[in-house]
């Protein structure tokens, strides 16, 4: 029963993400309107036939903006996690494999990064340098690699005394080869889970940043900045707040369900 439930939810998550990816890629053909087209006479229309999810203060179609926003959110999510996984894997592998003072220094650094509230770092760095989509990806990546580093380190610590690794050493394999060919491939399971959950986390971070005005800058639509623009009209135009939030919720939920599904699968093996 547990396996069935876990798998079913994971499948729902995967299908949702696939559909979302298709919509995001085909945005140009799927979106009913131009997401940037200002049309003041149609401002703040409630959902209707022409605008299925209503319009914003400038009369732009909310549905089209959400569809284009999906591109930005997914892009930021995947690239930020890519950066986080790369840094985390390198740091974790070095710390776990070499141990000693290198391990001590790297892990103190991990502890430090973990003790500074992430949102403080995100806001401060982006405010100092100036918001741009590239910077947002990089900074979210730079502030979320610590979990992966700990995971990889723990996996490598438990693997490096195993016989197949010792055998590789004895056969004269270089440290580089042992790490990349023997250790990391066997340590990637938990990292995959963490990365899947991480994409959801990165999308949440982007939405918070954009909501606070330090994320994706208008007129480029992102789920977070649509929420930010909707905040002012919260009393009169509820669709501006409800729709983007539901998009974020659904997407993050899908990533979380998929991640948990993979975790369950791995733990049964």
């Amino acid at each position: 029963m547990k396996a069935l439930l876990g798998n079913r939810l994971a499948v729902i998550g995967a299908l949702t993400l696939a559909a979302l990816a298709v919509v995001a890629i085909a945005a140009r053909w799927v979106a009913p309107h131009d997401p940037l087209q200002v049309n003041l006479p149609d401002a703040l229309l409630a959902p209707c036939r022409a605008y299925p999810l209503g319009t914003d203060q400038l009369g732009r179609d909310v549905l089209s903006r959400l569809i284009y926003g999906a591109r930005i959110s997914l892009l930021i999510g995947f690239i930020a996690v890519g950066i986080a996984v790369s840094i985390g894997t390198v740091v974790g592998a070095l710390a776990g494999f070499y141990g000693g003072w290198l391990d001590a220094i790297l892990m103190r650094f991990v502890d430090t990064m973990l003790s500074i509230p992430t949102i403080f770092l995100l806001l401060a760095i982006i405010a100092v340098i100036g918001p741009s989509i590239e910077l947002i990806m990089v900074v979210i990546g730079l502030t979320s690699w610590m979990g992966v580093a700990r995971l990889v380190r723990a996996e490598i610590l438990s693997l490096k005394e195993r016989e197949f690794v010792l055998a590789a050493h004895v056969l004269g394999a270089s440290s580089w080869r042992v790490i990349t060919k023997h250790l990391l491939p066997n340590a990637m399971g938990p990292v995959l889970v963490s990365a899947t959950l991480g994409v959801g986390g990165a999308i949440l971070s982007e939405s918070v940043l954009s909501y606070l005005g330090l994320g994706v800058q208008p007129p480029t639509p992102s789920w977070g900045n649509i929420l930010n623009e909707g905040r002012i009209a919260l009393g009169v135009a509820w669709w501006l707040t409800l729709a983007p939030g539901l998009c974020i919720l659904t997407t993050v939920l899908a990533f979380n369900l998929l991640g948990e599904g993979i975790r369950e699968r791995l733990s049964r093996q």
């Binding site: 403080f120 340098i129 929420l227 919260l234």
Partner: protein
């Protein structure tokens, strides 16, 4: 005990130092000088005034010396003066700290008060109806952006139903209230912010509580207790919960940065004059002395929290105390 403390100092000392390096580093990421934002776009500020400001903050000195200077003042809890109103940063923070700590403390209690029973009840019958229902709810709660939930709550409870106030911490006529009325008024204003601050953590925490309890309830001593005829209630809350709570203490320590960071969002949305809102305002105004101070303080508060969690773990688990004595 001395040994334990020494260990802690050796472990946390470097972390503390690195925190200050990072806080200091952020300010110097900016292109140009940190005082530019405060002075450059302000035509009223003369070149002379800018130089005076640079000298005041030691910005004409090499970086390591600037850092040493900043650290020298930091150990005396002197974080300099705000770029915005020239008031001492420490003073600005101290007047904002109590309200943030109050909100965080209450939301911590709320988190534990909901998450522990939820986790325990789910663990009683894993994959039972209650467990599956809470699993789904927890997943949804964990995935929802808390600021969005805050907006919806504001719109619903505040604007539509007029049940709860949506901004600030006092009513307009607060000054005319008696003591008890004032307390009630503040509490009234804090319901939404505290609830929102707790929102995301409840989901995560109840998951940890559940999995920890599931593990504990599988242990032999639980079966022994049941075999002895101990009541189920006592098995759960006396034998089970005591041990099931242990990992939660650690998780609680780890979730502190999120709680402190979360106050930025909650306080910004509900216009609460606390530390989180101060941070947001300072960031938007490029008020670097305040930003640096708050990053440092946020991290140090987290470290203290982690230390208390570790210590609490040692107090709760006799095995750890015995080991460290050996």
């Amino acid at each position: 005990m001395t040994r334990y403390l020494l260990q802690q100092v050796l472990h946390r000392g470097p972390v503390l130092l690195l925190i200050t390096v990072i806080s200091f580093g952020i300010m110097h990421l900016a292109p140009g000088k940190p005082t530019d934002a405060a002075t450059q776009f302000n035509p009223k500020v003369s070149l002379e005034a800018r130089q005076r400001m640079e000298q005041l903050y030691g910005l004409d000195q090499p970086l390591p010396r600037q850092y040493a200077h900043w650290m020298g003042r930091l150990v005396r809890f002197d974080f300099g003066r705000s770029f915005l109103d020239d008031r001492p940063v420490t003073e600005k923070i101290l007047e904002r700290l109590p309200i943030t700590l109050t909100i965080n403390l209450w939301s911590l209690l709320l988190i534990l008060g909901i998450a522990i029973p939820l986790g325990v009840l789910s663990a009683v019958r894993p994959n039972g109806l209650f467990d599956r229902l809470t699993t789904v709810l927890v997943f949804i709660g964990y995935s929802a952006p808390s600021f969005w939930v805050a907006l919806l709550c504001m719109a619903w409870f505040g604007v539509t139903l007029h049940w709860l106030p949506i901004s600030g911490i006092h009513s307009l006529d607060y000054e005319s209230f008696g003591m008890i009325h004032r307390w009630l008024d503040t509490g009234w204003h804090l319901i939404l912010p505290v609830g929102i601050a707790a929102f995301t953590s409840v989901a995560g925490m109840s998951r940890y509580m559940r999995s920890s309890m599931v593990d504990v309830l599988r242990q032999d001593y639980i079966r022994t207790a049941r075999a002895k005829g101990v009541s189920e209630r006592r098995v759960l809350f006396h034998h089970g919960l005591r041990n099931g709570l242990l990992p939660v203490i650690t998780i609680l320590g780890l979730s502190l940065p999120d709680l402190i960071g979360g106050s930025v969002i909650a306080e910004t949305i509900f216009s609460i004059p606390g530390m989180g809102r101060l941070f947001y305002e300072a960031v938007m105004a490029r008020d670097y002395p305040v930003v640096m101070a708050l990053v440092t303080i946020g991290a140090v508060l987290t470290m203290i929290g982690n230390f208390l969690a570790d210590a609490g773990y040692a107090v709760a688990d006799p095995r750890i105390r015995v080991e460290s004595r050996a």
